[in-house]
Amino acid sequence: MTARDCDVVIVGTGPAGSTTADVLTAAGKSVIMLEKGRNHLLSLEAPFEPLGHVSNDELKFVFRHFLGPDPFLEPRTFRLSDDDGDRLFTGGVNNLPSTVGGGGFHADGKLPRFREVDFRLLSELGPIEGADLADWPVDYDEMEPYYAEAERVVGVAGDHTENPFAAWRSGPYPMPPGADMFCALVTAEAATRLGYHPYRAPTGVNSVEYDGRPACNNCGFCGMFGCPIDAKGDPVAPLRRALRTGRCEVRPESYVTEIVLDGAGRRAQGLRYLDADGVQREVTADHVVLGAGAFETPRLLLRSGVGDPDLVGHYLMYHFQTFTLGIFPYRLHAHRGRSVTHLMDDPIVPDAAALGAARDAGLPWFRGGIVEHGGAAHVIMEATYSPTGPHHATTMLSSPMRDRMAAFTIQGEDLPQHANRVDLDPHVKDVWGFPAGRVTYEPHRHELACSEHWQPRLEAVMREAGAEVSFSATSPPTPEQVRRHPGGDPTPMSRHVMGTARMGTDPRASVCDPWQRLWDVDNVMVADSSVFPTSTGYGPTLTIVALAIRAARALAGLPPLRSDRPAPV
């Protein structure tokens, strides 16, 4: 048997890939990580310090694609359904960063856990017509120690006593919460008066010095940026730990073209990729881990001919976002702070009104998602929404769309629908000559009904908080809005993507087994949110990290983690 280049080759250096590398290298395995994007995160030479590329620069990060993917080089296409022809839109679609650090790089680091019911939606709440709900092949009790480990590795700041809906925990957060944003204090007080339950958001940003990295100083260039002072742990903490073992090599600007299989197609020999100069290279390994994210992982599987194409890429889920905006008579300075400092779970826990509204909409139930209490932060974006002419400057001076705006965002649960999927566009290509990834996605009426129920309720909170005006919008726009305004942007602004290589217990109905290994290829594992059977109403990242710890430990032959549920008081 010829010598392999490494024990495990990993695609992607985001939270999934980096967490996997951390666990495997700590267990003595050698790892090569192939990352499509550039490296702006940390030096690949000891002591692996920040490179100094990250800055408070809205033009660079928000408008000039600094973190990639550049939509010219890597276009994506989008349509609502097969009825729309080949595509409705070409450009950026839910573009998570393509860079060392992946989706973790630009996230503001809100890291809630799921709750018990989130793993058992089908058996606890029951099916919904038109969606393929499934229970996860793990439950919360099994996940709890991995959540605790994920919070420790990344460094999460929070107060575990504040959310009355939270699941049980084996211990407190590693750090206390950071400073509350003024706009969130205003809206949280009003939400409490109206009977909701806001709490300080668990955040993967240092509130004190932690892991040799400084506390956050609330510069406000958080979500959609990157941290210039290394106060954010995901994914730099696990990646740096992996590099420090000396058993991890990161190769940026490496575009994986295919998974190389043996003759029988049951085992992967490694990966073929194009390097920064476009030269084809290969890495051989005992195991392959895919951490490219729920858009690029299925795209790689499809172009490698791996897996059942009736499952791979299917069940694509975003979060159907509802924005409720409030314009206040005074300034809120939401450009100071960590983008969002408060959450509330109320839309995920249906009350009698929500259950009644669901029945009125012909649904057995609906669930929304966490409500993020935030605001608007930056000026170039504000300017682009302002009018031209003399009203431009008067609008910017008065700043109703930024400095006097508070914003609720609901991360509404998307139901898994088979027709929603990532596949290969028949004509549009990327710069390497491979078919662009195409999204077919239309929200279920579950998402639409839930959003309609919550919009007036959140507008009432804004008015209670003192907003002069409150109104709501969704992202993506509703299908009716898309069809009424052809030529507009029909794509979701959400940066959450899930479901496209779902894990399960039945190989006929899932792509991965309960340990995230492909059913079809013995030594390939999917580490990212492609494996999620349902989307929940929570951001995916902490669960990605926790699942990756679990799956990587199994891959390395380590025993599972266990935790003890505290006795009830």
């Binding site: 550039r38 100094g52 590329h53 990250v54 800055s55 408070n56 620069d57 809205e58 033009l59 660079k60 408008f63 000039r64 600094f66 550049d70 010219f72 080089l73 276009p75 400073a179 509350d180 944003m181 003024f182 956050c216 100083n217 609330n218 510069c219 406000g220 260039f221 210039p228 002072i229 600007e253 920064a276 100069d277 476009g278 005074y330 300034r331 300075h333 450009h335 100071r336 702070g337 000026v379 170039i380 504000e382 300017a383 682009t384 302002s386 031209t388 002419g389 003399p390 431009h392 400057a393 008067t394 910017m396 001076l397 700043s399 400095d403 549009v428 290509k429 990327d430 710069v431 000559g433």
Partner: protein
């Protein structure tokens, strides 16, 4: 830059048209400078002529500007990767029949869009009154939209990109811009003022 430094892309006549057009889109009002005073046309000239300098004026450096401490490094623009250069040259120069730029078909670059737009609004543009200038811009909505997008960037981006002269736009709208390594205190985050 304007009148002081050299132009990277526009001729002086083209620059004058862009400057006047941007002033129609973002005119000065009391308390807020207009596009001319902010150097927005310098920003656009710097963008269209990004590759006239090396490294090109695409990604400013970091981590700090020096405005709130630390060593000033925003002005140290970053080298592009091979593929980033391909993307930005295509976006700015157009595909020019070069096969590696035309993997999804030909692309008209911003330089050509500006040449065409400036010609369309007329070489008498600067001599017209405001209402007539507005009418000329309204007659070329795609160019007006592109120009406005760049005007917003030029007015409110970090001054190292050529616009937002002396940070005057940020001052006007009570926005500090980049604040590392100082950041904000807990009181500044949580308090009303």
């Amino acid at each position: 830059m304007a009148g002081n430094g050299s132009l990277h892309f526009f001729s002086p006549a083209q620059y004058a048209v862009v400057e006047a057009a941007c002033e129609r889109l973002i005119p000065a009002v009391e308390g807020h400078p207009g596009a001319r005073a902010l150097g927005v046309a310098d920003y656009v000239d710097g963008l269209l002529g990004a590759f006239a300098v090396d490294p090109p004026r695409i990604f400013a450096g970091g981590p700090f500007s020096g405005r709130f401490g630390g060593d000033a490094s925003f002005a140290d623009f970053m080298a592009l990767s091979r593929l980033e250069e391909l993307a930005w040259r295509t976006r700015i120069e157009g595909s020019r029949g070069i096969p590696e730029r035309e993997f999804n078909g030909p692309v008209t670059g911003w330089q050509q869009e500006y040449r065409d737009g400036i010609a369309a609004v007329g070489d008498d543009f600067c001599a017209l009154d405001g209402a007539a200038q507005d009418a000329r811009l309204d007659a070329v909505p795609d160019f007006k939209r592109l120009l406005y997008r760049h005007a917003c960037e030029g007015a409110y981006s970090a001054p190292e990109y050529g616009g937002n002269r002396d940070g005057l736009a940020w001052q006007a709208v009570q926005y500090a811009g980049d604040v590392q390594p100082r950041g904000y205190t807990d009181e500044e985050v949580s308090g009303r003022e």
